[in-house]
């Protein structure tokens, strides 16, 4: 990590971080089935049968998984009729992601900053689409992209007005993170990684979150590139950063154009499938 690039916690926080971190535990208690699903999917012994059995206890969550499996995003054309098959279609990582979304009330857009899901789905699809360029699995990248902004939601829950203002004032990812650290003592991305680590998500998924601000870190390059693509797609005032730089040389500008078109098309589809 490059110290100069990383936002710092040393700035005096105006916010009780301990309380935010404590809320992560409370969320799990409020949605025990979703928490169980998260725990089960983090196990090496996870099976579709067991996962679908667990999911069956949370009708709303099970319904969302079924809906997602049958969405155009997975190309299954409404042929997924069993929950167990739905789990195999969308993948365990996605089930875990959806359970996490449910845990953190991310599925309630009224509790989120404006355009939160537009940014999240765009980020997820950009990461998923670019993943092969970074020798990463698209599905894992999709999940990472969907959850990366969970910290945003946590901060917004705890400080709706303050965070909404921060969100609308600072449009670029880097500027937002700096402002977040300034206001809360921690960036939303870092908060995401803490929460995911607390819920037992695999370490490999957390590394990009921790290293996204280190331009020299290859592990953070995919997520960094996905943020850049997302900025270009969702923010009219986005100031472009050369893609070669944020991607550690893995991408060139000419690679980005086809990605933009595809991500734009799929993002709305994914959002509709996830949130209904």
């Amino acid at each position: 990590m490059t110290p100069s690039a990383a936002p710092s916690l040393t700035v005096a926080p105006v916010f009780d971080l301990e309380r935010v971190l404590g809320s992560i535990d409370r969320m799990a208690a409020q949605r025990p089935v979703a928490a169980q699903v998260v725990a089960e999917t983090n196990s090496d012994r996870a099976s579709a049968k067991e996962l679908s059995r667990l999911l069956g206890a949370d009708v709303a969550l099970a319904g969302r998984v079924m809906k997602l499996a049958n969405s155009a995003f997975y190309g299954m054309r409404g042929r997924v009729t069993s929950l167990q098959f739905a789990v195999t279609v969308v993948g365990f990582g996605t089930v875990r992601t959806m359970a996490t979304v449910a845990l953190t009330d991310l599925d309630d857009e009224s509790l989120l900053p404006e355009d939160f899901w537009e940014v999240s789905t765009t980020l997820a699809l950009a990461a998923s689409t670019l993943a092969p360029r970074f020798a990463e699995r698209p599905q894992d990248a999709l999940c990472l992209g969907l959850l990366a902004q969970m910290g945003v939601a946590l901060l917004h829950h705890n400080d709706p007005d303050g965070y909404a203002e921060l969100w609308s004032t600072h449009r670029s990812a880097v500027a937002r993170r700096t402002a977040e650290v300034h206001r809360y003592g921690i960036s939303a991305l870092r908060l995401t990684s803490v929460a995911l680590e607390q819920w037992g998500f695999p370490a490999g998924m957390l590394v990009p979150l921790k290293q996204v601000d280190d331009d020299a870190s290859f592990s953070g390059a995919l997520l960094r590139s996905a943020f850049e693509v997302t900025g270009r797609l969702t923010d009219g005032d986005h100031e472009e950063t050369p893609i070669e730089r944020v991607s550690c040389g893995q991408l060139r500008e000419r690679d980005v154009a086809p990605v933009l078109a595809q991500v734009r098309t799929d993002a709305e589809e994914l959002r509709a499938a996830l949130l209904g």
Binding site: P3, E18, V89, V90
Partner: protein, 704 residues
């Protein structure tokens, strides 16, 4: 569960127990533990056991001098708070700095020590991977890289889905096959490259594979440039532990193979000369469209008139050119959707749907006009004509082949009625044709059961009036229709391939009867029996059949005479002569039946191995009208060639006397002796011989 919560429910440990636990931890070589304390806002190592010092390479005292932020460099900038929480245990995977400066990935668990101990945390440090795990991971990574390289460089187009229908990877070969960049194919983008009509099949098979097993689907892929490739996509189930179900798809481009097969199929179903569908495809076409009772299907059967003349006079090349031109004219005359097929030779069939009988006839007329337009081939102007048979499907048609058969019949009727005509097979004609078919079936059965009977008509010698010979005459008594005359059933047998069986039956039965008469009548039995042979029997097999029949019943060849019509002989005189010679060598006599009605070449007659001429009954009848010229000439001719004669159809004494006077050798006629059954003939010959011993005579005729 927090450390504080845990402490509340537990009994207070004695100082001895605490000391024992502390000692165990301090000297443990399994657990690396250190204690962090916050003093004056600064975090420092307050205590560490031997294991953590060993793990990180520090001396026992050195660790206490290291700043915690330095020990855990990723938690700089105040992030230590994230690990060192006041109310809960936190697990983090972190790099921990060793004494050498190297970073060791560890799982660090921070347990807050409950008050009143102040702000202290116990940290358990464990390296994330041991050597075995690293080796296993390296092996797995190497294996995955090998697989990736193999797939990437494989010339076989390959898809890899890790979850559902979403592709995680496509190789260069697949990108080249569909002419699209990988980015556009990943996710569900590859489904856009599948032809819309085949998408359902592909998705169905892929979904089945996601649930386990292997499947394949034949599908067209649409390239970026719009061209299509026909492929077989073979799907294999892939399960990634902890992730879910996906598939590997390998694609075989079968475009060229299909094109080759299509060419072969086309060749199998089409006439190479005209390019028209052949008889096989015609049958399939009609069968596919035929719905019993539906109607609306019509067949037009065309047979070119005088095509053989063109072939024989102008050569086969010109004949072929004519067929090609006819095919072209037919194609351009019929309606869109009508099928034009070459049935064989110079025969063509047009199949139309949704057409009335009038419509079909109108089309047949248009075709006739189109064909009749002049064309010049090899400098000769031709005006092709065809005999055309038309059939429109009716409720009576129960099978597709009946429709083609009926229009074939109609064409033959048109041909028979005079060339260049159109005949519609009406219900009466169809009924007649079917009736004929039934009769053929009955005849086949009757022959098989030997239900045909033989009658024997005596033939008298003019020398002494004795009955010396009989002619075998086949009779068929149909169980429902009554007697069927030979003039009906013999041509029927000839048309339907039954003539050989019929001939064998007559030959065998005649020989059997002769043998029986011999046993019963001895010397009074007929000296010889005449058996009629069809032109179609006049082949190399006849000699063998005759010889076998004679041997079967123990008769000498001289007891048999074969009668063959003049017209049959003249169909192929050379081969007829060869067959007759074989019979003559066997010792069988040969007679020419109905002599004078055909157009025999007298030169041929001289060279044919013949023993007897039978004067046709029409000439004999002329005697009564005062015209003995032909009969006289035939008898004189026979005599000059050294042949016997049999006058047929002798009806009166005057005729008999006149024929004897003219020199006829034998007489045969209904009034002399009617055909008799085998039994009646036995009685007749016995009685006649008894009545006039030495000169067997017909009771009603006095021959001189």
């Amino acid at each position: 569960m927090s450390a504080r919560t845990r402490a509340v429910g537990e009994p207070q440990a004695s100082p001895e127990i605490v000391a024992a636990v502390f000692h165990g931890v301090s000297v443990s070589d399994a657990v690396a533990v250190l204690v962090i304390e916050q003093v004056g806002g600064v975090f420092r190592v307050g205590w560490s056991n031997e294991r953590v010092a060993t793990l990180l390479g520090y001396g026992p005292a050195d660790l206490h001098a290291v700043a915690v932020e330095q020990l855990l460099p990723s938690l700089g900038g105040g992030e230590l708070k994230l690990l060192l929480r006041r109310e809960r245990t936190v697990h983090m995977t972190l790099p921990v700095r060793c004494a050498s400066g190297a970073l060791l990935d560890c799982v660090v668990s921070a347990v807050p020590v409950p008050p009143p101990a102040g702000r202290r945390w116990t940290l358990r440090v464990a390296s994330t991977a041991n050597e075995t795990e690293r080796a296993l991971r390296a092996t797995a990574d190497a294996s995955e890289r090998r697989f990736a390289t193999l797939t990437e460089r494989s010339p076989v187009p390959t898809l890899l889905s890790e979850q559902g229908m979403r592709l995680a990877h496509v190789n260069d070969a697949f990108c080249a096959l569909v002419g699209t960049q990988a980015e556009q194919l990943l996710g569900t983008g590859w489904l856009d490259a599948v032809h819309p009509d085949d998408l359902e099949t592909v998705v169905e098979q892929a979904i089945a594979v996601l649930e386990g097993g292997d499947r394949e689907a034949q599908a067209r892929l649409v390239r970026q440039d719009g061209t299509e490739r026909s492929t077989v996509i073979r799907f294999a189930h892939v399960f990634t532990p902890g992730a879910g179900a996906g598939f590997i798809g390998t694609i075989e481009d079968i475009t060229d193979r299909l094109a080759f097969e299509a060419r072969l199929a086309h060749q199998a179903n089409h006439d190479p000369l005209t390019g028209l569908p052949n008889r096989t495809l015609l049958a399939e076409h009609v069968a596919e469209r035929f719905r019993p009772g539906a109607g609306g299907l019509a067949c037009i059967f065309l047979d070119l008139d005088n095509f053989k003349v063109v072939n024989d006079s102008l050569g086969h090349t010109v004949g072929d050119a004519l067929l090609v031109e006819v095919a072209q004219r037919l194609r351009s005359t019929v309606r869109p959707g009508d099928l034009v097929a070459r049935f064989g030779g110079d025969e063509f069939v047009v199949v139309c749907q949704q057409v009335s009988e009038d419509g079909a006839v109108a089309l047949a007329e248009r075709i006739g006009e189109a064909l009749h337009r002049p064309l010049t081939l090899s400098g000769v102007e031709l005006h092709p004509r065809a005999s055309v048979g038309v059939t429109v499907q009716t409720a009576e048609h129960s099978a597709a082949e009946e429709l083609i058969r009926d229009c074939d019949i109609a064409m033959y009727q048109a041909k028979a009625a005079g060339k260049g005509r159109i005949t519609v097979l009406d219900s009466e004609a169809r009924a007649q044709a079917r009736d004929k078919l039934r009769l053929v079936a009955d005849l086949r059965e009757a022959i098989g059961r030997r239900e045909l009977t033989l009658m024997y008509q005596p033939i008298f010698s003019t020398a002494d009036g004795s009955a010396v010979t009989v002619e075998s005459l086949a009779r068929w008594q149909h169980p429902e229709r009554g007697a069927i005359p030979p003039s009906t059933f013999v041509p029927l047998a000839e048309e339907s391939g039954l003539v050989s069986a019929l001939g064998s039956l007559v030959l065998d039965e005649t020989c059997r009867q002769l043998a029986e008469w011999d046993r019963r009548l001895g010397s009074r039995a007929p000296q010889r029996a005449n058996v009629n042979v069809s032109a179609l029997q006049l082949d190399v097999n006849l000699h063998g059949h005759v010889q076998a029949a004679l041997q079967r019943h123990g008769l000498p060849a001289s007891r048999l005479s074969i009668e063959i019509t003049e017209s049959a002989l003249m169909k192929d005189p050379a081969s007829a002569r060869a067959v007759l010679l074989q019979l003559r060598e066997l010792g069988v006599q040969v007679s020419i039946d109905d002599f004078g009605t055909g157009y025999s070449s007298l030169a041929y007659l001289r060279h044919l191995p013949v023993d007897c001429l039978k004067v046709d009954r029409s000439f004999v009848a002329e005697l009564a009208d005062g015209h003995p010229e032909i009969t006289t000439a035939v008898i004189a001719l026979a005599r000059s060639l050294g042949l016997d004669t049999v006058a047929e159809g002798v009806e009166t004494r005057e005729q008999a006397d006149e024929l004897a006077r003219l020199g006829a050798t034998y007489l045969q006629g209904f009034s002399l002796a009617a055909p008799l059954s085998g039994e009646d003939a036995a009685v007749w010959f016995a009685d006649t011989a008894t009545a006039t011993p030495g000169a067997v005579r017909h009771p009603d005729l006095e021959l001189t």
